[in-house]
Point group: C2
Chain length 140, copies 2
């Protein structure tokens, strides 16, 4: 089990926009060429990033740009833009309420797994687009 390609793809898109801003017009076709996905996937993802207030897309003429400094965009922003707000783990519905384990499992496990998800969010919040742009430039 792993998370979908959406966070990596969205991050890739933002890095390209940040890196090529002013230099190239970052259209969906241009971005699709770097990421290696269908341009429609790029447009859908850009739509999510736009809804989250991270980018502006030029209607008609085309191209996207960041609405804030890369310093102020974190992976948590990206994660929230492209992933549903939900529990980290899926719980089985309707465990047996007659069983002491069944009637407590969701509370007992759920609260602990919730904390783990919170740590993950905190970690994501600690990574900025700026840091990633610098790392990309190191070209190792």
């Amino acid at each position: 089990m792993q998370f979908s390609v959406r966070l990596p793809v969205a991050t890739h898109i933002l890095l390209c926009i940040g890196k090529f801003q002013g230099e190239y017009k970052t259209t969906s076709t241009f971005l699709a060429g770097s990421v290696n996905v269908h341009p429609v996937i790029i447009r859908k993802t850009l739509g999510q990033l736009r809804a989250a207030g991270l980018v502006e897309v030029a209607a008609g003429v085309g191209g996207a740009k960041l609405t804030k400094s890369p310093r102020d965009i974190t992976l948590l922003d990206v994660f929230r833009a492209v992933e549903e707000e939900e529990d980290l783990f899926h719980f089985q519905e309707n465990p047996n309420p007659q069983c002491p384990v069944g009637r407590n499992i969701h509370r007992v496990l759920g609260t602990r797994l919730e904390k783990i998800k919170q740590h993950m969010m905190d970690d994501l919040a600690g990574i900025t687009l700026e840091e990633l742009l610098h790392a990309v430039d190191e070209e190792n």
Copy 2:
């Protein structure tokens, strides 16, 4: 996107075995009744837990028991028993190597997401079956 129900279900199974050991014979049908899944799912999961050395299952007669103290079983053990060893996030294959972002994204993002996964594993390793059994008994 969320992880499958497997970790919660496997944990539920172990908690039942730990709680009812000696009291009831924890057959797949018995466990299925508490978890609310098909007995075959329980048997498959028990098979994974057995392969990981966490339980023993009595062939023929039926019933399962823990091979170690609940103090020595952590959620990381359970996670590893039922989930594939893989990256937290799925990466897009073949990003464009001509693009500075495309040829660096996997290294730059991958290493950082790898650390986040490691934190998750550390968190899971800090939760023991014993702690969960106590919490279940609190019946709140």
